[in-house]
């Protein structure tokens, strides 16, 4: 039987009769959970979110309840909540749907999470390239304020919390939580070093701060509605709830699919319709541009409960945090980029390295210099100007970026370089040997 979507967060998003107005949201039972939440003890809501096993949807998959537990509640300082809507990881466009199509769901999630953590002021940090999203959110917040769901004395409970929509200005690094905080303080978005700057203790204005992704906060509403026990039944243990997978590149039906408990093959074939006519899948980047690539013909080894081994392929990978991790990559932000046999893998790598060199914030030398160096090497390889030692230099240099910088962004150059070269070495070596421009000239992936 063909796999289907499990739409919870996106239940109403594409309904032609549904709009971004508060009336639409109220008509489907919206804000009921907030009304209920503000009559509960905050720690009970926190316990529910933790019991539900909700993992962060921004990229790292850190358990949301644990993140909330780490908040320093004894400092006497105000606690801030920041909704991270800087969605910039190549291949990812799920937060765009949630913000543009169902903004009140997000606002309810923010307000419940704010109440659960005694937050007095919340922010939505939205990237500059979503001007309409910012406008929709501001409008929605004013509608919610007029009905008593945002602002003073929420639902008559005596609890007050405002939300500020703060626009970025085109820097990928603001998706990194401490870079985001610096930017929100009006500074360059240079990530902060941990320790001591764990946001839960020393975040915005050196106060305890929670930074959660859009999709994570939307899930909070549904955990409250379903209860943690029912919620945790969706998906696999340790991978609870649905995830919105964004599929782009060479499939018949690219798009966003909210699913739970299916395999990568079911997503690629049943939902996305398989490869384009006459083409074959070649490679898949499972969780956003910085994640390690998978070869479509790759085989993996798994262990049965009795300890015996079994082999499986890309199509069999369980589509969740642990499933993709077991295959040696990460589900990251669930931005899946699919490439078929028409793609020159070296050009694909050069394209992404170009992205990460543009987006390095420049604070740490290995990332600033290394990503640019990787761009120079990969681009000259594609332009037929490769040098004999280039491939070895590229791999050894890239291995010296990730883990040697303040934030994890260094890995965004390291992982693609290592995995593309590691898994497609023959193709890349052949390209370097021939050293010609545009071996597969039909789709050009970098500038001439």
């Amino acid at each position: 039987m063909a796999a289907k979507e499990t739409r919870i967060l996106l239940k109403h998003a594409d309904d032609p009769n549904y709009s971004t107005s508060i009336d639409s949201y109220l008509a489907v039972g919206g804000y009921k959970m907030l009304e209920q939440a503000v009559t509960m003890k905050p720690e009970l809501i926190r316990a529910e979110v933790k019991a539900a096993g909700l993992r962060g949807r921004g990229g790292a998959g850190f358990p949301c309840g644990v993140k909330w537990d780490l908040v320093d509640r004894k400092s006497g300082k105000p606690i801030y909540l920041i909704c991270n809507c800087d969605e910039s990881e190549p291949g990812t466009f799920k937060d765009r749907q949630l913000v543009h199509k169902d903004p009140h769901q997000l606002i309810e999630g923010i307000m419940i999470s704010a109440y659960a953590n005694n937050v007095a002021l919340a922010f939505i940090y939205i990237r500059e390239e979503m001007p309409k999203g910012a406008r929709i959110l501001r409008q929605a917040i004013e509608e919610a304020r007029a009905k008593g769901y945002v602002g003073e004395n929420i639902c008559g409970s005596g609890y007050s919390c405002d939300i500020i929509v703060h626009r970025g200005a085109g820097a990928y690094i603001c998706g990194e939580e401490t870079g985001l905080i610096e930017s929100l303080e009006g500074k360059r978005a240079y990530p902060r070093i941990k320790p001591p700057y764990f946001p839960a203790v020393l975040g915005l204005y050196n106060c305890p701060t929670i930074v959660n992704n859009v999709e994570t906060l939307c899930n909070v509403v549904h955990i409250c509605r379903m209860g943690s026990v029912e919620y945790a039944k969706i998906g696999r243990p340790n991978n609870t709830g649905t995830r919105i997978w964004c599929v782009s590149g060479h499939v018949q039906r690219p798009g966003y699919y909210e699913v739970a408990g299916i395999t990568m093959g079911e997503l690629l074939y049943d939902l996305c319709g398989g490869p384009l006519p006459g083409r074959k899948f070649k490679a898949i980047v499972p969780g956003g541009g910085s994640m390690k690539i998978l070869r479509y013909d790759e085989r993996f080894k798994g262990k049965n409960p009795d300890g015996s081994e079994y082999e499986y392929g890309v199509d069999d990978i369980p589509l969740d945090f642990d499933g993709v991790a077991a295959a040696g990559s990460m589900s990251g932000s669930a931005g899946m980029m699919v490439m078929d046999d028409s793609v020159d893998i070296m050009e694909a790598l050069a394209n992404l390295v170009g992205f990460y060199s543009h987006e390095s914030c420049g604070q740490c030398t290995p990332c600033r210099e290394g990503s640019l160096w990787a761009k120079k090497i990969t681009w000259r390889m594609c332009r037929g100007d490769a040098r004999e030692q280039d491939l070895d230099t590229l791999v050894s240099m890239a291995g010296n970026i990730g883990g040697r910088t303040v934030c994890p962004m260094g890995f965004s150059t390291t992982w693609p370089v290592q995995s593309y070269v590691g898994k497609f070495r023959e193709e890349i070596e052949a390209k370097v040997r021939e050293n010609k421009v545009g071996m597969r000239g039909d789709i050009r992936l970098i500038e001439k």
């Binding site: 105000p78 969605e87 910039s88 990881e89 190549p90 291949g91 990812t92 466009f93 765009r96 002021l121 990237r127 500059e128 390239e129 979503m130 001007p131 309409k132 910012a134 406008r135 501001r138 405002d162 500020i164 703060h166 626009r167 970025g168 200005a169 085109g170 820097a171 990928y172 930017s183 303080e185 009006g186 500074k187 360059r188 978005a189 204005y205 599929v247 782009s248 590149g249 060479h250 690219p254 798009g255 966003y256 980047v285 541009g289 980029m337 490439m339 793609v343 694909a348 394209n351 992404l352 170009g354 992205f355 543009h358 987006e359 789709i443 050009r444 992936l445 970098i446 500038e447 001439k448």
Partner: protein, 174 residues
């Protein structure tokens, strides 16, 4: 002594700035929204504007300059009447973004990464616009254009030319 840059701003921009600043727990946090409001109004962040913001938010010049120079979308050179940003990142490139750019350059008479001589069009690459499932995509002023097919760019080119010939587009609020 306050410089007179504020007089150049539209009254609604000034009102918006006055409204934004007190919303933040610390004044300096209002720097980005204030810069955005100025750029939406003027299509550029000039040296005068930077000095004015310095006074407005009680900062040092370097505090403002370091932010203006860090973020790619704050501009110290004027943006054209129509601002076209074409996504070049992998998903869009896989569907022909670079071909789209070749055609736009030719049809608009504007080289990638520049503003046309008459100041009407700014044509640039954008890094991932978070619209990968419907690529190639481009942000034209505030509007996202998706599924740009290299062989069917007529309507988009006409739209860009229309905007470039018209007045300054209505800016985003804040």
């Amino acid at each position: 002594m306050a410089n007179s840059f504020g007089n150049k701003l539209k009254p609604e921009t000034l009102a918006e700035i006055e409204k934004i600043i007190p919303r933040y727990p610390q004044k300096r946090s209002a720097l980005m929204p204030v810069l955005q409001a100025i750029q939406d109004d003027q299509r550029v962040i000039s040296n005068d504007a930077i000095e004015w913001v310095v006074e407005k938010l009680d900062l040092q010049p370097i505090n403002v300059l370091e932010v203006v120079s860090f973020f790619p979308n704050y501009r110290q050179k004027p943006i054209g009447k129509c601002w076209v940003r074409v996504c070049r990142t992998l998903s869009c490139a896989l569907h022909g973004a670079y071909k789209v750019v070749d055609i736009l350059e030719k049809e608009l008479g504007c080289k990638m990464g520049t503003t046309s001589e008459d100041g009407s069009i700014t044509l640039e690459y954008a890094e991932c616009l978070a619209a990968c499932g419907t690529g190639p995509g481009a942000l034209i002023d505030e509007d996202l254009f998706e599924n740009l097919k290299p062989d069917d760019l007529g309507p988009v080119i006409a739209e860009i030319k229309k905007r470039a010939a018209g007045g300054v587009p209505t800016p985003t609020k804040g």
